[in-house]
Amino acid sequence: MRFYNHLLKVTIFSGAALCAVVILLVFLIMVFLSFPFFSHEGIKIFSQSWNPSSGSYGIAPMIFGTIITAVPAVLIAFPISLGYAVFAAETGNKYLKKTAVIIIRAASSIPTVVYAFAGIFLIVPIVRKIGAGGSGYSIFSASLVLAILISPTMIFFFYDSLKSVGKPIQQGAFALGATKSEKVLFLSFPAAKKGIFAGTFLGLGRALGDTMISLMLAGNSPSIPDSAFESARTLTAHIALVMAADYDSPEFRSVFACGIILYLLTAFLSITANYLYKGKI
């Protein structure tokens, strides 16, 4: 009996310690392995041309690609997610409200690779038709499917925030003559501001960090595109694609540089979202 108690104690403390160690280790190894790349290439890595055969290793197109797919995805997902959350928390019909919550829970368990796969057959052909002569594999396709992917996460956050608006102040609003919609618009939204921000940041983090959708739908050409219907490559897809290359080449090490950039970006977003939501660091 004593043994198990002791085992438990060990698990708890070593678990926590190891957790901290691993998280820091991830960062350190990234830095360590990307260092040769940064020192060798210096500021050149932020150049716009990626052409390993001619010695240029600029990852700027990938940084651009990441931002240009993630930000539109959040812009598309935000209003729809907010509307959905309002429906599920406030304005929906009694039975549909419950269904709405269940659907969103189910949707959040669907893997990104499945969304991407379906996107190949459902979104790409349509984009091919409407986009002037492109192949359909484009920023536009990737952003759309990313929006679908991140919606459940954002909806959950928004829904939670709306539901936690205090009942006394809601009663106060009704007593002053507000209708339900007016209450949501003029009381719930301002009161839930923090949660709405945090949810958006989280959605952005997810969109920036996703690999499969941009890998399978955005086209992967390593240059800055001219229009939304052209192909682009994100940092995440770049990592996946380059992994097949030679181990010690600068091409390969560029991957760790991408990793660091992604790590820092998402870490920043997570910390900010956390700070907004809980009001402290």
Partner: protein
């Protein structure tokens, strides 16, 4: 007369909360309602501004008529706009419930509603100052109207809530134990305020305190188990 209530019965969740209430309330008076917990006092108030409809599936029978804008109306009539009704019959709650916004935003809230007839920044500012003066809060906070309402003391918050309810120029104000969470000094201020307000509004106040009722009431109704036990006009 301001309010006529005939054979009011109200039940929800199979619980008969109010039984056969017959009440007449005069205008420009203070009516106090007392009774033990669970006697239905607060529920009765929410029947007057139909607030229960936002939260419960209840059954109400009987008639409640009020003289609003010099016309007698049936509060539960199908064609009545509930939003408009609630602006004419205001409510203040037991625990102060200012919105998590600035004082100014709290007070201008009623003007955002579509049933409000007031517009224009200047007009709204004037009304805000008027209401704050009525509750004797203006001098205390005139320099920090954009600070958060929740930074005020309990007594100040409650007066703010009364001011907020006054913004829509109600003819009747319902107060549910408004001073029970306040100290005696704050309580006195609010009682004095109510005595002033009675000249422009009909006031119905639920109170636990016999002494408060003695100080304020022109009309005292005592309820137990959803029924009226005493109905005294002074």
């Amino acid at each position: 007369m301001k309010i006529r209530i005939k054979n009011l019965n109200f039940s929800y969740k199979n619980f008969h909360v109010l039984e056969n209430l017959n009440i007449q309330i005069q205008n420009d008076s203070i009516t106090a309602i007392s009774g033990p917990s669970g006697s239905g006092k607060s529920t009765f108030l929410t029947c007057l501004n139909r607030l229960w409809e936002e939260y419960e599936e209840g059954l109400l029978t009987g008639k409640i008529e009020a003289k609003i804008e010099d016309k007698w109306i049936d509060i539960y009539h199908k064609k009545i706009s509930v939003s408009l009704l609630r602006q004419k019959i205001g409510m203040v709650f037991q625990m102060p419930n200012p919105f998590p916004m600035s004082i100014e935003q709290n007070l201008s809230f009623p003007f955002k509603l579509k049933t409000s007839s007031l517009t224009g920044k200047k007009r709204i500012q004037t009304e805000i100052i008027k209401a704050l003066k009525k509750v004797h809060l203006y001098e205390e906070i005139k320099n920090r109207l954009d600070s958060p309402a929740q930074s005020l003391s309990g007594g100040q918050q409650q007066r703010l809530c009364i001011a907020r309810a006054l913004m829509a120029s109600p003819e009747i104000i319902l107060l549910d134990e408004p001073t029970s969470s306040l100290d005696s000094k704050a309580e006195k201020r609010i009682e004095d305020l109510l005595k002033e307000l009675k000249n422009e509004c009909t006031i119905i106040i639920v109170s636990h305190s016999e002494s408060q009722i003695k100080r304020l009431a022109d009309h005292h109704i005592h309820m137990e188990n959803g029924r009226i036990i005493k109905d005294i006009k002074y």
